[in-house]
């Protein structure tokens, strides 16, 4: 790889702060420049108490209410028989707290769309769970006329409510965090083990996964992978729940190898099938709250299986141990993190990859991996520009202007956060696919530009612009560059900003829309 210009210290620490967080405000950059790159990196990677994060505690979500009148009816029957709700295999309907929770969802959401378009899934999976007696989801909708079904309406409102609550919480924490690396790192792992609430539905399961990614995201990748392979949200997302020895489900096995641990080209189709057999036997207890995964030996295939060169009677955990120990796994994880943190387009040189993989090492130390990425000479190469992901763009903009999502009125929140992120194509907890979100130039579309302008216009109405107002019109373009962590405006942008500088709101909105704010230079 031909090296481009090497960044100077200020540019380098700016890049570090932006890529390990969401912004690079003037005070932080000044301080980082004074203490130097290495000390800044140490500080960023150190685990420290974060008062900002402490102010944004994880929401406590109730279980989902029953999904349909039929499900509720069955539950009522059981209640009558047993005096209290009893666990039934595979039913969200089986939780006693549902009524109060459902009522809260109804009051809180006020959703005009709630009664719209009752698309249904009649008896999905009912036969699977009947046959196996546990595990598989009973998506027993009621078919025609479900739009008038108040139980179903309540269920859908609860879904919407949970989805909004988890999204708002995480965005709020990203904005509030004083040491944003933990949030950024969790976002990276969320993109890696991409799981969507769209299918999982349970906000509690998604929050539990988020906590796992957060807790284990800086340590041994094996511990993370072991937790994730039996993570309830991931299990639902990849249909691992209810896979049996008789006819294994390949979904989790394939994505574990292709995306999470090994990478395309490092395994065969036969390996996928053998691994699928090894993963059988795990089911989900949906009566627990949050959901729990459980191993059921009777459903597991204990026969020795050959997976990527090793024959053993694998379980889910020993399979993970084997896969993460392979050299290809180390290169795969390093490569994915390189694309997210260094360059999505320029591959690491062989020497750089070898150095990073060596740092990650036999102990699969994620923090050592990140440190190696940030200290690689490519990280100081001006050419290695990244496109800001929509979450980075939105969170960074909110941080720059001191706007806390949780303090916005509900309607503004919907407009400024929910619609913007959905319009840009990146909503937390809802990655586009198991492969995560698109990256790079895919974000730089006309559709996205239109959304960003709407966001910029909305944000300046809510932002604290006192320092922009206090500055003279002449100083405003430079002040905005510093606030947004932009090294320098290009000549064209500077001219546009200068022309708009008399109006503090307008000049700020233009700065938020400028190409220089859309990339991490």
């Amino acid at each position: 790889m031909v090296m481009g210009r090497t960044l100077d210290t200020r540019e380098r620490v700016t890049r570090l702060l932006q890529r390990t967080g969401f912004d690079a405000g003037p005070d932080a950059v000044d301080a980082a420049e004074r203490s130097g790159f290495d000390a800044t990196l140490d500080r960023v990677l150190a685990t420290a108490r974060d008062p900002g994060a402490d102010l944004t505690p994880v929401p406590r979500l109730g279980p989902l209410p029953p999904r349909s009148a039929k499900a509720e009816e069955r539950l009522e029957k059981r209640k009558g028989r047993n005096g209290r709700p009893r666990g039934t295999p595979g039913g969200e309907e089986s939780d006693g707290a549902r009524d109060s929770d459902g009522a809260r969802a109804t009051e809180g959401s006020g959703d005009p769309d709630g009664a719209r378009d009752p698309d249904d899934e009649p008896s999905a999976g009912a036969s699977a769970s009947a046959e196996t007696g546990a595990g598989a989801e009973t998506g027993d909708g009621t078919g025609d006329g479900a739009g008038a079904d108040p139980v179903r309406k309540k269920f859908r409102q609860a879904l919407k409510q949970q989805r909004e609550e988890v999204t708002l919480w995480w965005l709020d924490r990203m904005v509030a965090a004083e040491h944003p690396w933990e949030e950024k790192r969790t976002l990276l792992w969320h993109n890696h083990w991409a799981t969507s609430i769209q299918k999982v539905k349970s906000g509690a399961a998604m929050l539990r996964q988020n906590e796992t990614l957060r807790r284990l995201g800086g340590g041994d990748f094996r511990a993370l992978a072991r937790a994730m392979v039996v993570d309830p949200a991931l299990m639902v997302w990849l249909d691992a729940d209810g896979s049996t020895a008789k006819a294994p489900n390949e979904n989790l096995a394939r994505e574990l190898m292709e995306l999470f641990v090994l990478g395309v080209g490092n395994y065969t189709e036969a390996d996928v099938r053998e691994a699928a057999a090894a993963l059988t036997g795990w089911t989900l207890d949906r009566n627990a709250h949050p959901w729990e995964s459980r191993f059921q030996p009777r459903r597991h295939d204990p026969a020795p299986r050959t997976v990527v060169g090793e024959k053993a009677g694998f379980t889910a955990l020993t399979l993970v141990d084997h896969l993460v120990s392979l050299p290809d796994s180390r290169a795969h994880v390093a490569g994915r993190m390189w694309r997210a943190l260094v360059s999505n387009e320029n591959k690491p040189s062989e020497a750089a990859l070898a150095r990073i993989v060596a740092a990650y090492g036999e102990r699969r130390d994620s923090t050592a991996l990140f440190r190696a990425l940030f200290t690689d000479e490519a990280f100081a190469d001006a050419d290695n520009v990244l496109v800001k992901q929509p979450i980075e763009y939105v969170v960074g903009s909110l941080r720059a202007f001191g706007v806390r999502p949780s303090e916005l009125p509900e309607k503004v929140r919907g407009q400024l956060l929910t619609r913007t992120l959905a319009g840009l194509g990146q909503v937390p907890f809802a990655p586009e696919s198991v492969g995560g979100w698109p990256a790079g130039a895919a974000w730089l579309t006309t559709a996205a530009a239109q959304v960003r302008i709407g966001f910029a216009q909305g944000l300046v109405r809510r932002a604290d612009l006192s320092d922009v107002e206090d500055a003279s019109a002449k100083e405003r373009p430079e002040l905005l560059a510093r606030k947004l962590g932009v090294g320098r405006w290009g000549d064209t942008t500077r001219a546009v900003l200068t022309a708009a500088a008399r109006d503090p709101r307008h000049v700020t909105a233009v700065a938020l829309t400028a190409p220089e704010h859309l990339v991490l230079s």
Partner: protein, 414 residues
């Protein structure tokens, strides 16, 4: 800037990004394509609407060999009975959700191309979709087939190829031209902002390519907004809002959008307005049916059928709309044998549907046999490039060999 080429950044989008770079393949020369000249807009031009079904639609339960005893043996409870499917002849019937398609078939406006895939099918969603979108059978290359068509025939106009949605699929990324991504809904920009965007888009020549691309997105915006208006249709929910309803949920892990109907509404409005776009990309996700497949797939196919039916009804009322050809494909079919979760795992070939007034209805290609599977998977009987070549030649008036690395074999459905 030596390490950077425009090709690289234009094409490192979406699912292909990582794969294309990892493969490091460069199959197309910019000059070679540009040297072939370009055609201007044509009042009589026909329009292609490409529908991508993300997740690997189960072809065997879409075009169903219901009478075949092997089918019932392999599928168990997932199998449709002969009396359930909409019979097309030759022992095949459409999924009961595809009533509108059956009507088109009866009117001889639906071509069903059978057994479509490429040699040595890849079972990864992302690699296989990249191969389909780049039309490169041996492995993904860094540009999409409609992107290369834009390079070749679009004259650098992003409006010639339009994708509906937030991000640009690799399909529409060429080497010198990227199609425009048009947003659903939204308000028109005030003139002052359009002027500002036009100015902001003039990023310096020596700037980083990604910065230039960021500028271009603002420049395209002014063109696209003026061509597509930007008026929101009354009473329509903003389709950019996340969906909270309880749908699309069993097979959602492999990407794609919902709201196909809303995407097609944008296309219909553009066609009615006489926009110069020749190729549109829309998508529907949720076909990754590893569990509880039957209900999920039939609901999705029903949605596809209803949305396409409504679209065809609408556009056939205009001169330009009668020249619209719709093609529907997915990255692979699924394993003939069902798994324990009442679903199916990743497989190989599947049918491609082509519909519209100019289409010569009927079967094309052979139905893969269930009696002789390869590694438990269906065989391929039709090269996917034959389908693309036909669309390029007969809808987009372009020599397919120039886009498909010399491949120019076409089928008779147009």
């Amino acid at each position: 800037m030596d390490t950077w080429t425009r090709r690289k950044f234009l094409t490192t989008s979406g699912v292909i990004g990582g794969a294309a770079l990892a493969a490091g393949v460069t199959a197309w020369g910019v000059d070679e394509l540009l040297a072939t000249g370009s055609g201007g807009p044509d009042a009589d031009a026909s329009t292609l609407v490409l529908v991508t079904l993300y997740g690997g639609n189960d072809g065997l339960n879409t075009l169903v060999p219901a009478a075949d005893s092997h089918y019932r043996d392999l599928r168990g409870d997932l199998a449709y009975g002969e009396d359930e499917v909409l019979a097309l002849g030759e022992g095949l019937g459409l999924n009961p959700g595809l009533k509108g398609m059956k009507k088109l078939w009866d009117e001889k406006r639906l071509a069903v191309v059978r057994g479509v895939s490429y040699p040595k099918p890849d079972h990864s969603h992302f690699r296989s979709m990249a191969i389909w979108q780049t039309a490169s059978p041996s492995g993904p290359v860094p540009s999409g087939w409609l992107g290369r068509w834009l390079d070749h025939a679009g004259g650098g106009d992003p409006l010639k190829g339009v994708s509906v949605g937030a991000t640009l699929p690799p399909l529409m990324a060429g080497e010198t031209t990227a199609g425009a991504a048009v947003r659903l809904g939204g308000r028109a920009l005030p003139d002052a902002w359009r002027r500002t965007c036009a100015e902001l888009s003039r990023v310096g020549e020596d700037a980083h390519p990604l910065l230039k691309r960021a500028g271009t997105s603002l420049a395209d915006l002014t063109e696209v907004v003026s061509a597509f208006g930007g008026e929101k249709e009354p009473d329509s929910q903003d389709p950019n809002e996340p969906r909270d309803e309880d749908e699309g949920n069993e097979g959602a892990s492999a990407g794609g959008q919902g709201q196909l109907g809303a995407q097609l509404d944008v296309v219909a409005r553009a066609i009615e307005a006489g926009v110069s776009t020749r190729a549109y990309s829309v998508s529907l996700g949720g076909f990754d049916t590893h569990a509880n497949e039957k209900a999920t797939q039939s609901r999705l196919l029903g949605q596809l059928d209803a949305d396409l039916g409504r679209f065809m009804e609408r556009v056939r009322k205009t001169e330009a709309g009668r020249k619209v050809v719709v093609a529907v494909y997915s990255e692979f079919g699924r394993r003939p044998k069902a798994n324990a979760s009442q679903g199916t795992d990743h497989g190989t070939s599947g049918p491609v549907f082509v519909l519209g007034e100019p289409v010569k209805g009927g079967f094309y290609g052979d139905q893969p046999s269930l009696a002789s599977l390869t590694d438990d998977d269906l065989r391929t009987t039709t090269d996917f490039r034959d389908v693309y070549a036909t669309l390029l030649r007969n809808v987009l008036d372009t020599d397919p060999a120039k886009i498909l690395d010399g491949h120019d074999r076409t089928l008779a459905f147009l």
